[in-house]
């Protein structure tokens, strides 16, 4: 019996082996191709700048900046102050306080001399009612604060859309800071292609650095190890998948921390979905669907040089909360838009972008856990070839680290940041740890995201905030 069982297990593991080899080949090839394409694209864009293939004069597309906020009293004033230093002439700032329990509204009223006003709001997209609207005069641009009943981030963003007076809007987080030229850079694709309905910016962790008048004063990798590893992770993610998907109009995600949208198209598509945690991704996928189905010529771009500096969690607990929320949001979005599996209608958007997110993002935690389980099984039934496994994991770790470092250096080189030698060393030492340890921890976390899913469906998620170093 035992021999029979061993034989059966052996046969199963053979097929499992084949599955994982194919899985890893496809994934590694995808990563490799996307990082190479990403690097080449970045270098090409640098060359474009070098040869003056940019809009040299300042053209201003009118933009409403929407900042949804929930319990952001620590950072929101600095965020709004940083928005007032942008070198851009035609924009407005709208902060939506989504029923904060702290003093978010109070600190804004004090800092910017906002006065309560009876402003009628046209509900073009659904959102909870406002409780109070405040406006200010005397600042560089108009600042509007809307205090409303709590309804979640998507609801707050919809309120912002309803209040916005300009044809384009930017959504950004209340703990983020834009560079002096971020608006100019993110609006540039709109001027070069009239079919652009959305543009994603590049979000970079700002932990441990300082910004002076919208310019990076001192750049260094965060002291906090967790934040440091997230820098590598963000660089890899932005360089790899985002740029590749951008090349065939297949971007399914624009970070909620910084994205530009054409207001009329978003309204026509129904605005943000208030029933999901991943409202940023859901909106982009919805825009794709809406434009494809209605045969509207469109394009969704990625502006690699439009930078938004955002805080990343420095505590493991906060990071886990964040990643669970992202994973649930991903599930909700892919589930809601499973029509994209109709490859005939959606083309590469379906069979590349959607399938990538389905297989290598949504299902991957379970796939990797299954892989771990089969390793344990192999040990129990004495099938495991240890030297081979060690070699395999070593190469896997080296490959992952090299991809991360490529992304890190490509970003550093192409946006002309001066990085200290100690930071380079830190990046090299941490990249392997990030690939082997942090990645697996987060896969466990993501796999556990569905536990207690229904209870915490729409919560913002509490994360510790630190004051941003703005001079």
């Amino acid at each position: 019996m035992s021999q029979e069982l061993t034989a059966v297990v052996g046969d199963i593991l053979k097929y499992v082996d084949i599955f994982f080899i194919i899985y890893l080949i496809i994934y590694s090839t995808f990563l490799f191709v996307s990082v190479v394409i990403g690097s080449v694209t970045l270098y090409k864009r640098r060359r474009q700048d070098h040869l003056r293939n940019t809009l040299l004069n300042k053209y201003y597309v009118p933009i409403s900046i929407i900042v949804p906020a929930h319990n952001e009293e620590v950072t929101v004033v600095e965020t709004v102050r940083s928005l007032l230093t942008l070198e851009y002439n035609l924009y407005e700032i709208i902060v939506v306080d989504d029923g904060s329990k702290d003093n978010t509204t109070g600190v804004l009223l004090d800092a910017f001399d906002l006065k309560r006003i009876r402003r009628p709001i046209q509900r073009k997209v659904p959102c909870n009612a406002d409780e109070a609207v405040y406006e200010s005069v005397g600042h560089k641009v108009r600042i509007t604060l809307v205090r409303k009943k709590n309804g979640g981030k998507a609801d707050a963003l919809n309120m912002g859309i309803n209040v916005a007076q300009y044809p384009y809007f930017i959504c950004m987080d209340a703990d983020s800071v834009l560079q002096y030229d971020s608006l100019q850079k993110i609006s540039s694709p709109v001027l070069t292609d009239e079919n652009v309905v959305a543009v994603g910016g590049a979000v970079r962790p700002c932990n441990g650095m300082s910004i002076k008048n919208g310019r990076v004063d001192k750049y260094r990798l965060p002291r906090n190890v967790l934040a440091c590893m997230q820098v590598l992770e963000y660089d890899r993610s932005f360089l790899a998948s985002r740029i590749l998907f951008d090349s065939f109009n297949g971007s399914l995600i624009i970070s909620g921390a910084f994205g530009l949208f054409k207001k009329s198209t978003v309204i026509d598509a129904g605005g943000y979905n208030r029933g999901t945690m991943g409202e940023d991704m859901e909106l982009v996928v919805k825009l794709h669907e809406y434009c494809k189905i209605n045969n509207i010529p469109y394009s969704i771009k990625y502006a690699t040089d439009a930078i938004c500096w955002s805080q990343v969690p420095e505590r493991v607990r906060d990071l886990c909360k964040q990643r669970k929320r992202w994973h649930l949001g991903l599930f909700q979005t892919l589930h809601a838009h499973r029509d994209m599996l109709d490859f005939q209608t959606f083309g590469p958007l379906g069979y590349i972008s959607y399938m990538y997110f389905l297989i290598f993002e949504l299902i991957s935690p379970f796939t990797e856990l299954f892989g771990l389980f089969t390793i344990i099984l192999s040990v129990l039934f004495d099938f495991l070839n240890f030297p081979y496994m060690v070699l395999f994991f070593t190469i896997y770790a080296v490959f992952g680290s090299v991809i991360s470092l490529t992304a890190f250096f490509a970003r550093i080189q192409t946006i002309d940041l001066k990085v200290r030698f100690t930071d380079v060393l830190k990046a090299v030492l941490l990249c392997m740890f990030e690939t082997v340890v942090l990645h697996f921890i987060l896969e466990f976390v993501r796999a556990g995201a569905f536990i207690g899913y229904k209870r915490k469906k729409l919560s913002w998620g509490k994360i510790q905030r630190k004051k941003i170093d703005l001079k």
Partner: protein, 367 residues
Amino acid sequence: MNALTIIYVYLAISGSIIIFNIAYAISYKVMQKRTASMSNRLMHEIVRCTQDPDNEKLIKKHCGMLRRRLKNSENLIAYDMALERLDDTDSAVKEKYIDNTYGVMIYLCIKYMHSDPLKAAFFPYFVKKYGLVKGKGNGAIIEMLIQMVSSDSIFSRENALEAIYSTGDSMKVIEAMRMINSNPVMHNEKLITDGLFQFTGDFSELEALIWIHLDEFKEQLQVALLNFMRFRSGGNCDKMYGILEDENRSDELRFAAIRYFGKYKDERAYPFLIRFADDIKNVKWQYAAISATALAAYPGKDTETVLKKCLTSRDWYVRFNASESLSRLGYEYEDLYDVQEGKDRFAKEMMQYRFDQEKIRNGGEPV
């Protein structure tokens, strides 16, 4: 192929990526140093020429060297860096140098026009920066720049347009607009409207020529040009009125004309604005909404009557714009008592908002 082979393949790929990174970093540094060194050499040559500008033999040799070197875009960038340093030189000396090397620029223009779009876009930028075509009339470079305006690359088009604007020649701008018009890919309206402000010649002459040739252009380009004139000056009322009253003109053109008369008051336009704002049921909402804004320039009883009616429109933008116009015209609560005490909640809310805004502007607390 066994799994071990695959592993070694990925090890090799990892190694290649590392080599790629190192090679790029090194090549970029080398390229920067080479460009800086070339810039220094070119600077040295330029200074020699500016010190002896009438030495034909020297100039000829210099031009020959430029023809050979500057076909390479990196060297052209180095030349740009060198010329930037000439900024401190006497402007007459600099102009003489540029005149002496004009033939080289014609040669380079031909070369770059037929090169890849990335490099081609740099040359017009260079032309504009050093005023190579300023006052040059029918020069060869200008003609080539006009051809470049039909490029598929938006940056080539935009840089070429900016260079053409710098000629100060209105007719050349019109020729450029014709090129844009014939291109299936339309240049962004905003880039055209705002870009025209870089024109260095006589704006009145340019506007006159635009009117003569307006009907040759597609609607989108016409709108961009009309918007330019709106931002530019109030000297086009006659022609704009012709568009406003002509019902055969497209809606977009008539909207542009309405906006024009919102900025520059002309009594001839007034009856149209009143009609558009008043006849909400029979005209497109955009006519009513844009006219409601324009009426802020026409104070009077009829305006007041129509704007009050617009406050009760079913269209949000009509109400919004009408309330803004009433506020700009200085109407206060007492003047609009009938609205504020009336039955239309939306009208009341809209005007209340404007009164609150006025209070804030005057330092008060509305609520």
